[in-house]
Symmetry: C2
Subunit: 199 residues, 2 copies
């Protein structure tokens, strides 16, 4: 579509590059930005650059952080003995929101996915093994999304970690709390049967 | 939710102010912005400010424009005799996209809506009447969205324009092309019956 001004067209093109934002939504957002005052637009623009300039990765766990090491790695009240391995920072945040886990984390920043050309060298596997080699780790808990790639990554890493005499565990897959058996998919049901616990 | 870095939290807050973007979408967008390179983020930030700094309103038709008067108002091949009155620039763009209309426009930049405190002084009514008073206009065509406020605005303006010996028309409301009678709402059906044309 032809927009009445070049900067508007450019903004729509830039916004439409964001995930899940098509041209229609981008155009709605652009018209909204046209209507807000300059200060609000400046805040938005500045916060986009700030996040690029001020946020980096923790050199221990590879979570996002402003300070290095990150708050979690610096926290002495959290145990070094258990490392929870996640795929992305959002997964870590979801676990932190639940508020139960009191160990440390390791963010892989991806998952093994040969089809996308992602091999062991492309995610933070070397760094995880180095952490474990330094000693002190008693358990590695995988909190990886259940998918073919997730399973493969867990298997690959388990084979590398087990020989180091470290306990390797993973979160349970099963029927979600409040879920309904009859609406569950078959694979979840099978997993929940396999993972049955004695009561 | 607590995010691992302050700039990330700020970006999510700013993004969540955009219409139709909740915290979850804002967080997904923010993580995307974290992943793209700095140049791409700069382009996005700059295009937000450009749209504020470089886009203004045409002093004749009040459409968005970089140059004043706008391209459409400057175009001699478009007739001055018919002015199509729309609510917002997006409406104008939709009509331009259809590519049939060869007159000029007037963007009201809103609609009469007493409940939202929008009276005749808050939209570009005075400017439309001044254009008509200058002479040369033979027809005013309302392309206003059919709603209670839209109808009221058209009625209000019709009463002001008709005494000036200018023809006043409005776009037809009816069943959309490719539409299906049995799925049409009652009001559209009633309108399409009222607006029937001899064939």
């Amino acid at each position: 579509m032809k927009y009445p001004a070049e900067p508007l067209t450019e903004l729509i093109i830039e916004l439409a590059k964001l995930p899940g934002i098509g041209e229609k939504t981008a155009s709605r957002l652009a018209f909204h930005i046209l209507r807000i005052n300059r200060k609000e637009a400046l805040n938005l623009a500045r916060s986009i650059l700030n996040v690029k300039d001020k946020v980096g990765f923790c050199s221990i766990c590879y979570n996002l952080t402003e300070a290095d090491p990150c708050q979690i790695c610096r926290n002495d009240r959290r145990s070094d003995e258990i490392i929870c391995v996640v795929e992305e920072p959002d997964d870590l945040m979801a676990i932190e929101k639940a508020g139960q886990f009191k160990g440390k984390y390791h963010v892989l920043q991806g998952i093994l996915s040969p089809l996308d050309g992602k091999g062991p060298g492309d995610i933070r596997i070397k760094e995880l093994l180095q952490r474990i080699n330094r000693g002190g780790t008693k358990e590695v808990l995988f909190a990886i999304n259940p998918s073919v790639e997730g399973e493969a990554t867990v298997t690959y890493l388990t084979n590398l970690i087990k020989p180091k005499n470290v306990k390797v565990t993973r979160i349970a897959y099963g029927i979600p709390m409040g879920g309904d058996l009859k609406y569950s998919d078959q694979i979840t049901l099978i997993k929940s049967m396999e993972n049955r616990r004695e009561i």
